[in-house]
Symmetry: C2
Subunit: 259 residues, 2 copies
DNA sequence: TTCGCTGTGTTCGTTATCGTACATAGTTGT
DNA sequence: ACAACTATGTACGATAACGAACACAGCGAA
């Protein structure tokens, strides 16, 4: 396995596959089959991992610090984030779901690293219908919950609450409390104006919940954010915890039925 | 197989399993295994098919005319539609995805009928890893596209455009151009005020695209609606067509890889 | 040091939608 | 025919977010 360190990664930590939650809970036997084909790659900020309608060649298992947004870009150029994927998940579910492509773009929102795997290798393992399949389908259901709740949140909640949700979702996928992220970028993700983000972020800063300057956001008071955020955050978080237990899950297919 | 006719169904058509698009494209061999356990049931308007967090016992394959909304209900009672399921799909994907429950409620939005199947029977077939699994996973991906696009639409498009999208999605799942649906109900689905729907529907009626009175909506000019609707409708429709071809798909697992 | 770029702050008029309140018109049951 | 109810219509101020324009501030490069 080749290890490539990113210039953008300040701490120069050499990540292990187990840093990705899905790889971590795979049955040992499955993990060992995939291990030789896992390759650590850098994920620079702004890189398009896959584009709407383009066939996927690889899947990616991000490690903490790397966050990838799935966003839909409209014909007029406006965009909206559908879901976010970090070290709790995998990029490229369209592969095993059967479509091969999605209508959304995957864009690196926070630079970091990910373990890359050839789609073909993943599919071979998926088709053994063991622990990997069970796990990936459960992950996909969690992702669907995130998408649903994004729709609900877009409909009903204020920009300020959505920003809180977005910050908390990001924080959960990082190893620090500092985000490297301009307001412009956040606005693109949330599908709102940059000025709107400035105003909402200003309010959060005034309350002492965050501090930021020129693309560097530090979360100072996470409980404070959690007090302000809408229920959408907790709904999604709870569903991830339910569907993807931190401990290893059974590789028996029967688990699908009785869980 | 027992046939129960709904009092609400005006035409008294006896539906066949093949009226559901998924059942229709199953490999013959698979279909014949499921056939004895399919039961036609009525789906009255307003019935809750499954509730957030409650374990599913059955899955349902609606036939044309029956439409079920998946909606999220917030703690304050406000709601928003996540996706809609008709004769193109199946209700109860949480069963085979492994979660067993979802965070949304499934509510009959247009009365009709559906073929009901015990979850256990579906799972036995799913775990044969043949045509049914391939098909259901592809359907799930299409459903995810619908959810995503709902999020995008909620973010960026006007109520009038969303109403057009909603009408077209409904129309696609009906066998007529008449919907039985009050503006109040539509408002709950779209997560907006009833007055807003009145206004938007009034505009559509003024343009001669629809006519309505007291819960009966007739679409007079479908191309007119399609000219007015945002891109979200077409994106979803195209993805359903791509993922779920009308003709029977291969039962070979390999299809998952090369499609 | 100075320039120029990028990121943030601010303002102002506009618009869509909201919340509330109430009016009117079909429809149903007696 | 009448009452009661349900569905739709309308109006009005409030509000959140928009679009556009511009000011300013930090920071790196020449």
């Amino acid at each position: 396995m080749t290890t490539i360190l990113s210039d953008l990664e300040p701490q120069k930590i050499v990540h292990q596959p187990k840093d990705n939650a899905l790889l971590n809970v795979l049955p040992t036997e499955v993990f060992e089959r995939l291990y030789p084909d896992l390759m650590l790659v850098t994920m620079p900020l702004g890189k398009v991992i896959y584009e709407s309608g383009v066939e996927l060649e690889y899947v990616y298992f991000p490690v903490p610090g790397c966050i990838v947004s799935m966003l839909y870009v409209m014909t007029d150029g406006a965009s909206a984030e559908i879901a976010v994927v970090g070290n709790e998940g995998i990029l490229g579910i369209a592969l095993f779901m059967g479509g091969g492509t999605t209508t959304s773009r995957a864009l690196v929102q926070s630079a970091g690293q990910a373990f890359r795997l050839k789609g073909k290798i993943l599919m071979e393992e998926f088709e053994r219908h063991g622990g990997l399949q069970t796990l990936l389908l459960r992950y996909t259901q969690a992702l669907m919950t995130q998408m649903s709740q994004t729709a609900v949140c877009n409909r009903h909640h204020s920009l300020e609450q959505q920003l809180c949700r977005w910050l908390l979702l990001s924080l959960d996928r990082l190893s620090t409390n500092k985000l490297t992220m301009t307001q412009e970028l956040i606005a693109n993700m949330l599908g709102v104006r940059r000025e709107g983000v400035t105003e909402a972020a200003g309010k959060l800063q005034a309350r002492g919940l965050i501090s930021y300057s020129r693309g560097r956001i530090t979360v100072l008071d996470r409980p404070g954010l959690e007090a302000l955020v809408c229920e959408c955050y907790a709904v999604v978080k709870k569903e991830y915890d339910r569907l993807l237990p931190a401990k290893r899950i059974s590789s028996a297919g029967a688990c699908v039925v009785d869980c």
